[in-house]
Symmetry: C2
Subunit: 510 residues, 2 copies
């Protein structure tokens, strides 16, 4: 495996790795061999300048050529073969099957946008002229879309492929006609470099301006700040913690020109469990929720973090089954040592909140795996939930909180207390329809995706997907980071009035 | 005419006008008789609280009922009769015909959104389930839209009806299902109250929750700050100056929850004049541009403020004709005394910029009309334009600047120097097609609407309109404040997964 450790600046590998940083092997908890160079101010400025230069030609590239470019990126990622899987597994601790699946999703996303481009990336809206209209003639107007310009994307820790170097943000920005300056995640720089190599090859194969893609490596916070405040950056995509996301948001707020910041910052994904569903199959539902919670050790943005119901004769069965399932789970590796520390610290704090009961914990880590984390299941009542803001926030990892309500009114009050989330699920039987309707109406205003009798983990990549929602799920509630609508984040409308055909973009010609 | 001078707080007229403020009669430059009460903190908090309470029921109102409500508002505005025209003319100095036309547009805008609601306010996107898909079954997902919540709207000085109390922002927010808290403009509070009376009647007639609309009067800056930072306000619409708009933007940036700020803040609307068009009819084009510039004394957001061409043998004819037309214009009344002061001060400053030539000024104000303003036409070269940031900014009023380029390369450089604008026009003949193509490609990235051989003033209210553009034209480049797409500013996507029909919104049912 050929890792340079350098930054890719518009087709040139650049930087000195001598004093570079290394990623941690997540499973062994040891620093990896490869050294990576923090990008210099000059390199970042070059990358953004070249992206801006490339914008003019790239934005005019035909939809067919952009589609071919996206598909070629996918092919080149696949051509990386097992090297990519080995590297991503080592850097993230995620199992090979998961990485292989995520690679398929990443290539699938590139293909989705390629299809969209080939089918016409948007629908033109045309109002014809009417010279005889009174009191004034009506002009001809045609509504189309233009790409925004150079886009900065920050890789996510928890999806080293699908939300990283050639992930959904990059794919949708490139599809829209925007060059991308990618900030690699310091937890998986090797994976980032391999994928950047694949993109770079696709650029060569398709004879595209190399400024269209640059990869910035770095552990230094100044790097992110320089990128998001650069006047030539016209939009930013980010998936990560609320703390880091809001630092970036505040830096972006200081810009002379406001630009959109697409930050996906956190989600508790509440699960509303209704009475007849519990009566039907308390045990099955408990096991399914624990299985969903345990996916990737709870490190999915859609992990079911808060479960709520009105206590009745079936809820003890549910709690017992869930506690049993949790206690049987093995400790698991986290994406980074700092995430493990943070998870363990929150679980320890919750043990000490008065009114919060720890129903079960997973098995303790085995010897030599002290950096692994154990699952946890807590329960509380509405009054305690109301009084403790900490309980409203996402715990990144496999911890869930049951909120026991004593009435349907309390359940409705609980919904109103929730912060925004990416998703919520309603678990109901047909007999629950009346309360399910009420829950759906209220819960809809708290989430980007409302699910019925399915688990929140797993995000379908399709035209009708919405992966966003009220803050902190997203800083831009009107947008999705998954699915074909994601392209719209990097385009904006333009109206052409009375314009002759030869001056119109091809999708708008008569 | 019955003016209370009070605030309308969810159906109740509230406030003490004893120490209230008065608008100026724009033409006479005298304070008007009516006194208006600055809203108190408590009144504002009440208005927003009631808007939030009304959100739940209003957002669930059927599209047909919302459409009827919008049409009823239009009918009630028309029923105000001449009182509205008299009041608006006095407060703004705009002539009666203009106000009557603007009233028609305002009612037309309400009707446009009513039509949209009746036809289905959005197109559902549906992906059906596939239980047999490998490796995982595919869930059913349906993409729809939800209103954001209570919206704050700020009235514009220059459109007392179409961009004010029941203007485009209010109409699109109410259409979307969002209650509106309206901040009246202190220059036309009487017009605002009359229109608020009409909305209030429509609320009664349609039996809608009175919290859906409140009118806040005030001259005190703290009022705006309290409104935009209130946690229950979920979006803000504003049309006004860059200075005031950016004060609001910075206050909004301090919120815990980011919300969209739709600010339309300024536009120079560049006019690109190509050689063969000039050769064809330099005089006719000069006269048409001056006529466009003089509309509403240059106080249109789409007023043509900068005109550019490559100097040749025809440009002196153009300049002479334009100068002649400007010199024949009478001085005109401005919307407010402070706008007149500001306009006169900028025109005086420009006289002193080295490299800027004053080609002509309109007639001086007559006796007793010293607060009226005279048009002005300036000319400069690219080097001077480049060196003086002040020349890049909108002058609110009837002043235009000609930028004389000495080559097509200079013209292209000029385009790249421009700030964002709502519109640009290309004035060309068929023989200009090659340079017109280049200008169109570059200019498109600077504007929200690109026009060919028509004037920028006059904004068609239709499905394909875009009234927005790169900053400072808009703080949210992806949105329009005019036309049917404006409704999307106040809605956001939601995906329903595996949801039974009885729990889906009507537009998404099978």
């Amino acid at each position: 495996m050929n890792i340079t450790g350098k930054n890719l600046i518009a087709g040139e590998w650049s930087g000195d790795t001598t004093n570079g940083f290394s990623a941690m092997n997540a499973v062994t908890n040891q620093a990896m061999n490869e050294k990576f160079a923090d990008a210099s101010e000059q390199e970042i400025d070059q990358a953004i300048g070249k992206a801006n230069q490339a914008f003019y030609s790239y934005s005019q590239l035909s939809a067919e050529k952009r589609a071919l470019f996206l598909r070629t990126i996918g092919e080149q990622i696949l051509a990386l073969g097992d090297d990519l899987v080995t590297m991503a597994c080592a850097e993230t601790g995620l199992p090979a099957m998961r990485i292989q699946g995520e690679r398929g999703r990443t290539i699938g996303q590139l293909g989705l946008f390629a299809n969209l481009l080939e089918q016409g990336e948007y629908q033109a809206v045309v109002d014809l002229a009417d010279a005889n209209r009174q009191p004034l003639p009506k002009p001809e107007t045609r509504l189309g879309y233009l790409p925004l310009g150079a886009v900065a994307v920050f890789a996510a820790s928890n999806f080293p492929l699908a939300f990283s170097t050639a992930g959904g943000d990059t794919a949708s920005a490139l599809a829209a006609g925007c060059p991308v300056v990618m900030k690699a995640h310091a937890a998986h720089p090797g994976t980032a470099e391999l994928v950047a190599q694949a993109i770079n090859k696709a650029i060569e194969i398709c004879s595209i301006d190399a400024g269209v893609f640059s990869l910035i490596q770095g552990k230094n916070y100044g790097i992110s700040s320089q990128i998001v405040t650069h006047p030539l950056i016209k939009a930013v995509g980010f998936t990560g913690s609320e703390r880091v996301g809001m630092i970036l948001q505040r830096q972006i707020n200081e810009r002379a020109e406001p630009i959109p910041f697409y930050g996906e910052l956190g989600s508790v994904n509440p699960q509303f469990i209704l009475a007849n569903k519990l009566a039907d199959d308390a045990q099955g539902l408990a096991q399914a929720l624990v299985a969903s919670l345990m996916m990737a050790q709870g490190q999915f943005c859609t992990s079911p973090g808060i479960w709520a119901y009105v206590s009745d004769e079936n809820t003890p069965v549910f709690e017992k089954s869930a506690a049993q399932a949790i206690s049987e789970t093995s400790a698991g590796v986290m994406l980074t040592p700092s995430m493990a520390t943070s998870y363990n610290s929150i679980v320890a704090q919750w043990q000490n909140i008065s009114g919060v009961e720890c129903l079960a914990q997973g098995k303790k880590p085995e010897k030599g795996q002290e950096h692994f984390c154990s699952a946890a299941l807590f329960a509380t009542d509405l009054a305690t939930f109301k009084a403790n803001e900490a309980l409203h926030e996402e715990v990144f990892g496999s911890s869930a909180l049951i909120v026991r309500c004593d009435s349907q009114a309390q359940l409705m009050e609980f919904i109103n207390l929730l912060n925004g989330s990416l998703t919520a699920s309603i678990h109901a039987s047909e007999q629950d329809v009346n309360i399910a309707k009420q829950v759906a109406l209220s819960a809809a205003h708290k989430v980007g995706r409302l699910i019925y009798n399915q688990m929140p983990t797993g995000v379908e990549v399709c035209a009708s997907m919405n992966h966003g929602g009220p803050f902190p799920a997203s800083t831009q509630i009107r947008t999705t980071s998954v699915g074909s609508e994601a392209i719209k984040r990097f385009q904006r409308p333009i109206c052409y009035q009375n314009m002759p055909d030869e001056l119109l973009p091809s999708l708008l010609k008569s």
